[in-house]
Symmetry: C2
Subunit: 218 residues, 2 copies
């Protein structure tokens, strides 16, 4: 009875299968357009299972976030603090490149930790541009402390920039990142002669280089 949740494998599997399917569909078609019938259908579960296990659709979205965003944010927070700590010990300012690397590398690397993680990363990019406020607010709420840690680190890296200018340039960088996170597969107008670079590591380096140069623009 106490650990019935762990013993009842059917129940646990249903809950996780719903989480997986929701992650996939939220990322692919957005929160609003992903119906509970489509989610439970893909999960092989009953329609009522969502409201039984999670309470509501938005609670399901929160659960999808918490399962992956908390660990991911923990990694990014740790790496950002490590950048600050290292720079402090070496009595220098953190560089913009290493700051962005601490943030971007774990984010894009997350894509290679299994199919579900890849869908989740696309979901992050998708939610950042969701028109629906309830969906976006859930995400922003979990993101805001990390955003300001990133902002603060960049501020010490670029002390000559006004906070106003720094804020907007960071928004540009976030826009660039979330845009490519959203780009799953056939997204852009497809170039035929251009080989689409799927390699995560190469894309990471390119994004870091782009964002760093943009932040440091004279």
């Amino acid at each position: 009875m106490i650990q019935s949740r762990d013993i009842n494998k059917a129940g646990r599997n249903t809950k996780e299968k719903i989480l997986d399917a929701a992650e996939r569909l939220f990322a692919r078609v957005g929160f609003h357009a992903a119906s509970l019938r489509a989610i439970t259908g893909e999960a092989g579960a009953n329609l009522a299972a969502v409201n039984y296990h999670f309470g509501s659709k938005v609670a399901l979205l929160e659960a999808v976030f918490e399962r992956r965003l908390l660990p991911l944010n923990e990694i990014r927070r740790t790496r950002l603090e490590a950048v600050q700590e290292t720079a402090r010990k070496e009595e220098r300012r953190p560089t913009v490149a290493e700051t962005f690397r601490a943030f971007i590398e774990p984010t894009l690397r997350f894509r290679d930790e299994g199919a579900g993680a890849r869908e989740f990363i696309a979901l992050v990019g998708r939610i950042l541009s969701e028109p629906n406020e309830t969906a976006r607010n859930i995400f922003i709420q979990q993101m805001e402390p990390l955003f300001w840690l990133l902002f603060e680190t960049l501020h010490t890296a670029l002390p000559d920039l006004t906070q106003d200018l720094l804020f907007w340039r960071l928004q540009f960088a976030i826009g660039a990142m979330s845009h490519i996170l959203r780009m799953t597969g056939k997204y852009p107008p497809l170039p035929n002669e251009i080989r689409s670079e799927k390699d995560t590591e190469a894309l990471t380096e390119r994004l870091i280089a782009f964002a760093t140069a943009g932040m440091e623009a004279s």
Copy 2:
């Protein structure tokens, strides 16, 4: 009878009021979430008027696009071609900065051409990240030739970049631009001590500087 559409002022006003309201609501809540009842309600028109005047909801979206996107794209195309022409006459390569200026300046300036235009620009940013394919495809279809003109101009400006690298950096820049186009009002986690820079011209310069530096990153 022949020009009854022009004579009947009530009808013309209804059609345009619907276009205005649709523009506003599509930008604010997205295509999917903007119901025809909300649109016609805000326009002060009857629900059936949309299907009478436009045929369907997606046709309404197309009409909203065509009213403003065609003139805007014409301006951007002309300016991009002028950049190429000027560089050719002066026997030099176009610069990245003037290329981006030709594209970004008309886009953001469009915001100051009345309230409706401002909503439309937000809509452009919104549609670029719409999960709904039908909505996005309508936009991409009208955008694609301009995208490749921009790509080609940047390619001559940066001949040392591989097409693959250029493509991705341009995607980064587009992501940055569409992100701020979407940022109407209270969008980002609001900084209190940071004065939000609303001035279009200043924002344009900042975006051009950021994108240019990113494209030219070593």
